[in-house]
Symmetry: C2
Subunit: 116 residues, 2 copies
DNA sequence: CCGTATCCCAGACGATACTG
DNA sequence: CAGTATCGTCTGGGATACGG
């Protein structure tokens, strides 16, 4: 197991991960793709509020980083599928941890117990 | 970071977590505080490049969310200590997962193996 | 259906100077 | 030491329209 306290003076893995997860819609896109291969329009419908521009931007970014694979079928009408690569799947523990953390935040929001 | 209207069925815990982790320096601050209680100046020295303004902003934000506790000692010279609350500590799995994920990204960057 | 191109702006961020 | 005040920059992201 990796020590989160490892040296971050130079190339910090945490900062590296953060740079990938950064961007308004990134985690939600991961969240969708962790459910399996999805088409562009499926993602757009699933992620309420995202503009075509932002969706394309994030997907291109993730593809260039090798986290997402893109399969284009030049049929009529056109069809594109997005799938997480093996590397992309390695983000799952992060999303899972975030989900866990997020629900603790929500618990506290409901139950106003102040500590410390 | 994430829009409240984002539909993850109800209130998405992942989005909730993302809203906390959002901000350029947040994860690094968590990373420092996971190592134990720290003073303002310690944080500023540890987090290279952060301005006093940003550090104070993030700390105030985390305090208002109940993730960080602030202890002020009105001595001369003044002294302030920042500590993660119990809730704040629950972010640790997220940071740990990010560290793990980040190092996989770096491995891949070094070793140009082709994915999928 | 799957995107790109263009325009625009709020607000996040940095730098610097200053105070209790 | 531990911050705040002020100002300027800059870019991420929204809205909209259009192209392959």
């Amino acid at each position: 197991m990796l020590d989160p306290q490892a040296d971050c003076t130079f190339d910090c893995p945490v900062a590296e991960a953060a740079s990938v997860l950064d961007g308004k819609w990134t985690t939600l896109i991961f969240r969708e793709l962790l459910g399996g291969t999805k088409r562009y329009s499926q993602l757009q419908r699933a992620i309420v509020g995202i503009s075509p521009r932002m969706l394309a931007m994030r997907l291109n970014d993730l593809e260039s980083r090798g986290l997402v694979a893109k399969a284009i079928y030049p049929t009529v009408p056109p069809k594109t599928e997005y799938t997480l690569t093996t590397l992309g799947h390695s983000v799952e523990p992060v999303i899972a941890a975030m989900a866990q953390f997020g629900s603790q935040l929500q618990q506290r929001a409901i139950n106003p117990s102040h500590g410390e």
